[in-house]
């Protein structure tokens, strides 16, 4: 050992550590006390006002998309971005619209320029391939399926994403570490990572984001923004717990399907007029 160095035994280290513990705590207390009058995040710790007397246990939200009605105008995509401050990047969508074009030989072409936010070009993107031989074509509104058995919740390593009692899957942006496991795990591609520089209403770039069924609207008794602006009624939203809800009649339609049922995710978003190959 270097004789010029002061003796640094295990005992002195342990002593210093024991002394440092309360000192660190006191420092945190002092900084919290000093920061509290000006820190805006300190106000968030106060109980938030209830939008209305909303009890999630008494609701059971479901969503029905009618592919036989959708005209691919993209107003829903635009409204969703405006309502929820979704980043304008084309790959960041809480909802989007796809066009499925089936040729006479059975090949399928799917296009969704910028998620369909500006509508669709008159012909399909693969006009040369499909062109005149189009057998069938339709638009499919897409969004988070709010699964009853959500893979995204299963894979989240920090339990940042969770399911509410009314059936909506939400992400706690303060808890999310942005690892992207949920983005990969989702069989429907319904999640994205907020790009750096973009801000959610909560102000968290770099975290996972997805459709919330417009939780701030549904808890106030409004419909989701995409449902409200749809000009042809291709999107319906309702409460399965309400016996008088219009969605009951839609769900009894024998054409009702869910997307990728083999995944066992039990989606809350149902589809009318969906062909078997759509996923």
């Amino acid at each position: 050992m270097n004789p010029t160095m002061p003796p640094c035994s295990r005992r002195t280290v342990l002593k210093a550590g024991l002394l440092a513990l309360p000192a660190l705590g006191a420092g945190r207390l002092l900084s919290a006390w000093l920061a509290s009058p000006v820190d805006p995040t300190a106000q968030a710790a106060e109980p938030l006002p209830e939008p209305l007397a909303y009890d999630p246990a008494t609701h059971d939200w479901v969503f029905v998309c009618d592919a036989t009605r959708c005209i691919g105008c993209g107003l829903c995509v635009e409204a969703c971005k405006q309502e929820n401050d979704v980043p304008l990047e084309p790959e960041c969508n809480r909802t989007w619209v796809e066009r499925h074009t089936i040729a006479e030989d059975g090949s399928v072409v799917v296009d969704s320029p910028h998620g369909g936010i500006d509508g669709f070009p008159p012909a399909t993107a693969a006009d040369g391939d499909v062109g005149e031989r189009v057998h069938e074509a339709y638009f499919v509104p897409r969004l988070c399926m709010q699964c009853d058995d959500p893979p995204c919740v299963s894979v989240c390593p920090v339990s940042a994403t969770y399911k509410t009692e009314d059936g909506v899957v939400l992400v706690d942006p303060a808890r999310c570490i942005g690892c992207g496991y949920c983005v990969v795990a989702c069989p429907y591609g319904a999640r994205y990572i907020v790009p750096a520089g973009d801000e959610l209403p909560g102000g968290y770039p770099g975290v996972a984001d997805k459709c919330t069924f417009c939780y701030h609207r549904t808890t106030r008794g409004l419909t989701p923004a995409c449902v409200g602006v749809c000009p042809v009624g291709a999107r319906e939203f309702g409460d399965r717990a309400d016996p008088g809800a219009a969605v009951h009649a839609l769900l009894e339609d024998p054409r009702v399907r869910v997307m990728r049922p083999e995944q066992g995710t039990e989606p809350r978003v149902y589809y009318l007029g969906l062909e078997g190959e759509v996923s």
């Binding site: 938030l48 209830e50 399909t124 189009v134 339990s159 509410t164 706690d172 808890t219 000009p231």
Partner: protein
């Protein structure tokens, strides 16, 4: 009875002896010394108590911010302000427009579908800035341009042949969906050539205001009608 220290290994017994010798130095020997020792002990307990409290406080605030708290987070999502007011907010002030709209084919369309999010305007009329006061032709085309994939039976027009396809509202009222039809004219001649043989700037008759030279198919799209001697029937 065997003393417990006898069972200790020699190294630990040695340590114990050393500790006892060191502590001996701090044993108070006067009443003042006892008082000082008591005061010192109390001060140490107080420091430890405050330190523990501070550490616990730090842990709790950290947990409140980053802990698992789904109910609180759901309330935060619910607390965001809506941007779209929803149907029904517009009617009280804009009765003329909504009245025409509610009896038309466009009755299923929300005002905000074309005019944009207006919750701020609905809650405070001083905010009169409409995102879209007069919908453009592009807005009409979004839904009504002939496009692969649209349901059969949905009204669509081919923009490349539709007359004045960039100025929809010259003929169409977006609220009532009423169309201003072109005048029905009985043509005096039979066996007509192409319309623009006569109807063009240097022809027998000038093109009516606002008209462009076009193919017969486009002219007849509006001006052909019935078997009562109109253009279409006479050719």
């Amino acid at each position: 009875m065997k003393r417990p220290s006898a069972s200790l290994p020699p190294r630990l017994r040695q340590t114990r002896g050393a500790v006892a010798t060191r502590l001996e130095r701090f044993r108070p020997r006067t009443p003042r010394g006892y008082a000082l020792a008591a005061a010192g002990s109390l001060a140490m307990i107080a420091v430890l108590a405050i330190g523990s409290f501070a550490a616990a406080f730090a842990a709790v605030t950290f947990y409140e911010e980053y802990g698992f708290r789904p109910e609180a987070d759901a309330r935060e999502w619910a607390a965001h302000e809506p941007a779209y007011a929803g149907q029904g907010s517009c009617r009280s002030c804009h009765a003329a427009e909504t009245g025409r709209q509610l009896t038309s084919q466009h009755r299923t369309i929300s005002c905000e579908s074309c005019h944009g999010p207006l919750a701020a305007h609905a809650s405070d009329r001083a905010i009169a800035q409409l995102p879209l006061e007069a919908p453009s032709a592009g807005m009409c085309a979004r839904c009504h341009a002939a496009t692969t994939g649209r349901p059969v039976g949905f009204p669509q027009v081919d923009l490349s042949t539709h007359y004045r396809s960039g100025e929809c509202r010259a003929c169409h009222d977006a609220h009532s969906t009423a169309v201003v039809r072109p005048p029905v004219v009985v043509h005096p001649q039979v066996k007509l050539p192409a319309c623009t043989v006569c109807h063009k700037p240097e022809g027998l008759k000038e093109l009516p205001t606002g008209h462009e030279e076009a193919d017969d198919a486009i002219c007849l799209g509006c001006h052909a009608a019935g078997a009562d001697g109109l253009h279409g029937a006479s050719r």
